[in-house]
Amino acid sequence: MLRHITIAKHAALSTTSAVILLGTGLLYWNSFTMMPSILTGYPGDAFFPRIVLCAILLFATILLVGSLRAQFNPPPEPSALPEENEQRFPIDLLELATILVLSLGYMALIRPLGFEIVTAVFLFILLERRLRMPTGRRIIISASISIIAMMLIYVLFILGLRVSLPLLVFPSYVSF
């Protein structure tokens, strides 16, 4: 099951550095499409980005070399720092994917369904899975907190700060 995976730190850093190096190369190639200089003395649009890309290239290479060396030549003695000896870290892929889908769904549905429904449902789904209590009580408390939080955000952001969020039922302003 791919829900929980553990990844070797040095391998993760090597891969990250390699991806950054690849991206740097592509962006450097893209910099040749930028506008040349239009003013005397001005070095052109690509000048500064290229300097930055070269710096990224340098430090990503240092990291890549360092992590590959650490991967294939581990230190003979444990490090003084306990965190140096933790060579792997866990990732909950399913939870990450859930958060991503819920968040994108929130943005996709906020217009058709309105801020009120989408916000309350979003909070409810996330809270319900995190409260440690019997099912019935958990559902009621999650629903109550979600609705109260949604209304607080409505009062603070929409009525108070005049932020324009798509509303289904509530008025966008209140006058007295």
Partner: protein, 495 residues
Amino acid sequence: MQLKGLAMIIALISGVMIGILLGALPGFGASQSLALLFPLTFTMPADVAILFFLAVYSAAEYGGSIPAILIRTPGTPAQAVTVIDGHAMSANGYPKRALRTSLFSGVFGGVLSTLIFLVVGTTLARIALNFGPGEMFALGIFGLSIIGSFFGKDVARGFLATGIGLLLATIGSSGFGGMRFTFGQDYLMEGIPIVVVIIAFLAGPEALRLLVDHKNTVEDITSTSDAKEKRANDRFSLTDARNLLPTWVRSGLLGTFIGAIPGAGAAVASLIAYSQERRWCKNGDNFGKGAIEGIAAPETANNAVVAGTLVPTLTLGIPGSGAAAILLSVLISKGVAPGPLLFSNQPVLIATIFFGMIFINFWLLITGLIFTRGFAFVAYLPQRILGPFVILMVMIGTYSYANYAAHVVMVLVMAFVAYWFAKVEIPAVPVVLAFVMGPIIEENMARAMTIHSGNMIEVLTRPIALIILALALATFIYSVRSNIRDSTTPQIYDG
């Protein structure tokens, strides 16, 4: 125009309270807060409008530290540095101490810079005038040398993150008619907003950490006596104040001077104050682990910037920051002409601003003390419960900036990248700080090169620029040597 009258008092008190609230909301920095409140000033007399704005500005710079300390989400760019030790102290069980340190430091910085403003305002403005594009470029490079050197598990990671921040800042219009790295996408034409980067790299991974890594965390139930002992120690004492006095003075002076430099801003002031304090204070080795000086230095500096910003704004008509630009608009709309003779032509206005700033800081102290207990409550919430609210604030805060769903998608994507970066110990703070510094560096470099027909040597060998660049080089060499010599001495890692 005199500091009296119920309207003035109400404006100052309400300005402080609104400023704290807006500053604490991700997506609402000082500039956005002032822009939002600009229409309210149309019916106010000039002195009331100016002080209302200064109240909001000062309070927002403090307000941004509240979420920075409690949920690792800076309310404004300047608090990206406060996050490091502020959140660490709060996570160690001392949220009130962290919040009160921030409060007292901010008030001290505000009062000190107000006094300096009154005494040497015009002199400071004349010195700041010597900072041309070359000097600003050099200051930016010095800032980068600090960012890359002091943040991150090692120098390579620190500078890599710095480079990524600079690269993100180049996306969009070059300012000379060209587009960079937009790949034909409309939403990248105007570049990536600073709010998006701050939220994505600081608040976003924190939200994911709370939601994913702490999904099943159940906090240890501490015994009643342990809890009582921790609560008893969770306070800001007179001893703390006495010990912090040197930090406050150093950072206040730095913040005031940097605030007087047009374009530098509170983020630069916080960063430089933090790095210098780490060098000077005896507790430097504990920076990054919840050191009280690590909170006091940036918070003193970023509040000192408020009065410092007034120096070029009032004496030269040059706004030192986005917030100052809005303040300048208010001044001009009320018929006040900024310039070198303002101090002599309008002594009553200057006195009003001076006493008003003192009152603002006094009221900020009172308000902060009253509400600290309430703010600290957030720190006691179980982390798994906090997660859903933080991710929701991330999305709504981003959306409220420009009502643009593409920004929220950008934040989500970058937040996942930042979460991964945290796993491989690439720090996020340098990305944000470099993103802020990038335009300062590139614009001033381009300006300097255009003025000097491309002769960069001429620019870099000006005395002030040369001194600053030498400091930058010394900082870089020092950090590389420290890193090589003693790899068991950790840098400040904000992950």
